[in-house]
């Protein structure tokens, strides 16, 4: 009879699921969507190499690079953000290009529908030198990257 009591309670006790397109609130352990800030990106493509889900694509070009992100493929593991932090510190930046914001995972109907691409111009050495120095001491001083064919950019084309 215990099961019947349970069924009766379930019947009148509300639902634990919800109808589409309503979404449940994310829990505290959820790390969230990747946010990209082109202002801070140096085009190192470490995020691309750390992304095991292949949600991030990187194409290097002359004087600019294209950074793409597909939330539909993302597992929200945060490895790209961790990599970006390290690199930003090495390069002497306080801020980093990638962050995570705990929004609900997006809904999509076709593959690649949510994919976003940014075409970012490579910063010249003069512009990098003019950038504000970080508050925290950097472990290694940032070496200005050459404008054309940097090592990271060529890696991005692989």
């Amino acid at each position: 009879m215990n099961i019947l009591t349970m069924l009766w309670k379930n019947l009148w006790g509300g639902n634990r699921t919800m109808l589409f397109p309503a979404r449940p609130k994310v829990n505290s352990g959820y790390r969230g969507l990747i946010k990209f800030d082109p202002e801070h990106c140096t085009g190192c493509a470490i995020c691309k190499f750390r992304c095991t889900a292949k949600a991030i694509e990187f194409k290097a070009g002359k004087g600019e690079f294209v950074w793409s992100y597909d939330p539909g493929q993302c597992t929200f593991c945060g490895r790209c953000v961790e990599g970006c932090i390290d690199h930003a510190l090495k390069e002497g930046h306080a801020e980093h290009a990638l962050t995570q914001e705990s929004e609900c995972p997006p809904v999509y109907l076709t593959q690649g529908e949510l994919k976003v691409s940014y075409t970012v111009a490579r910063k010249s050495p003069a512009a990098k030198a003019a950038a504000p120095k970080p508050a925290a001491p950097a472990p290694a001083a940032g070496t200005p990257q050459p404008e054309s064919a940097p090592q990271s950019a060529s890696g991005g084309q692989q």
């Binding site: 069924l7 379930n10 019947l11 509300g14 639902n15 634990r16 699921t17 109808l19």
Partner: protein
């Protein structure tokens, strides 16, 4: 019943035109009731219809030879027989019928089960064959009780005509027979605790494992029509006879609805039994009552 009336009953009311939406409605009620009892939202009202249309639009892999043809034929035979069974139900008073239509109804109700057994073996899948074997064992187990219950009802009321049975006042023996029918319904409709042939978690829906697209849609429709026919049969025998046609139809629908709710509650509250336990349940526990009902009916008939 002439040919025109028979065709109208088979194709319009209570046949295909009425039975197909009724089948989708009953499938929705069952799924929704189970979902609510499990604390879920459940599917929207039109979901069984959407599922059917979606499956119709899908393509199936080509299967060469006679096996492929047979796999296409079984669901169509199942749908036709289940629709025929619904067409025989005396939903409205004075709606026709003939002597012995109860026997035809039972035969038509049994045909989808036979088709499922054949379909599982035609699919040449190990899961399909296991499911078919289970369906065959289950069919033998519950059908003895099911048929004895029908025989006891018919013998106690001196007729095998459905409309006459619906019109006659219910006797205690008839109630016993209806109870036995209700016990058999979960097995006939593959509901928990007797959902052995289509056990999703064990044998991936058994005989249906190799089916997809329009053929699977036909199986779903056949299952819905079986629901309508089986619950309709019990509702016909249990509902009081009413002369007003609209009230009779309403009572029939309300009875069917509550039978579906009861079966859904049973399906939610129980887990799947093993095949030997199921056979033991029908042969040891329920068969005794069915035999008692038939003997009492025959004794009453001899005395009268």
């Amino acid at each position: 019943m002439n040919l025109a009336t028979a065709l109208a009953r088979l194709l319009i009311f209570p046949g295909l035109l009425f039975a197909v939406p009724a089948a989708w409605f009953i499938l929705w009620v069952e799924r929704k009731a189970v979902a609510l009892m499990q604390g879920r939202v459940g599917p929207p009202f039109m979901q069984p219809f959407f599922d059917f249309v979606k499956l119709l639009g899908k393509s199936t892999p080509p299967r060469p030879g006679i096996g492929g043809l047979l796999m296409k034929a079984w669901p169509l035979i199942a749908v036709s027989s289940a629709a025929g069974a619904v067409g025989l139900l005396p939903v409205l008073p004075s709606s026709g019928g003939f002597e012995g239509d109860l026997i035809l109804l039972l035969a038509l109700l049994e045909l989808p089960s036979m088709c499922i057994i054949a379909a599982g073996f035609s699919s040449r899948s190990i899961f399909g064959e296991i499911g078919s074997a289970r369906e065959a064992v289950l069919s033998v187990a519950y059908n003895i009780v099911f048929l004895l219950a029908i025989v006891s009802i018919a013998a106690s009321q001196h007729t095998f005509r459905l409309e006459a049975l619906a019109a006659l006042p219910a006797t205690p023996l008839r109630w016993l027979g209806v109870l036995a029918l209700l016990v058999c319904l979960p097995a006939k409709l593959h509901l928990n605790p007797f959902s052995l042939p289509n056990a999703e978690q064990e044998i991936y829906s058994g005989p249906m494992v190799e089916y997809a697209g329009p053929e699977l849609a036909m199986w779903e429709l056949s299952h819905g029509l079986e629901w309508v026919a089986a619950t309709g049969l019990v509702a016909t025998l249990a509902a009081p006879h009413i002369a007003l046609w609209w009230l009779a139809a309403l009572v029939f629908i309300v009875f069917s609805f509550f039978i579906v709710l009861g079966l859904s509650a049973l399906a939610s509250a129980t887990a799947r039994l093993a095949i030997d336990t199921t056979v033991r349940f029908y042969w040891q526990c329920t068969l005794i009552f069915a035999v008692l009902a038939v003997s009492s009916a025959l004794l009453m008939r001899l005395r009268s």
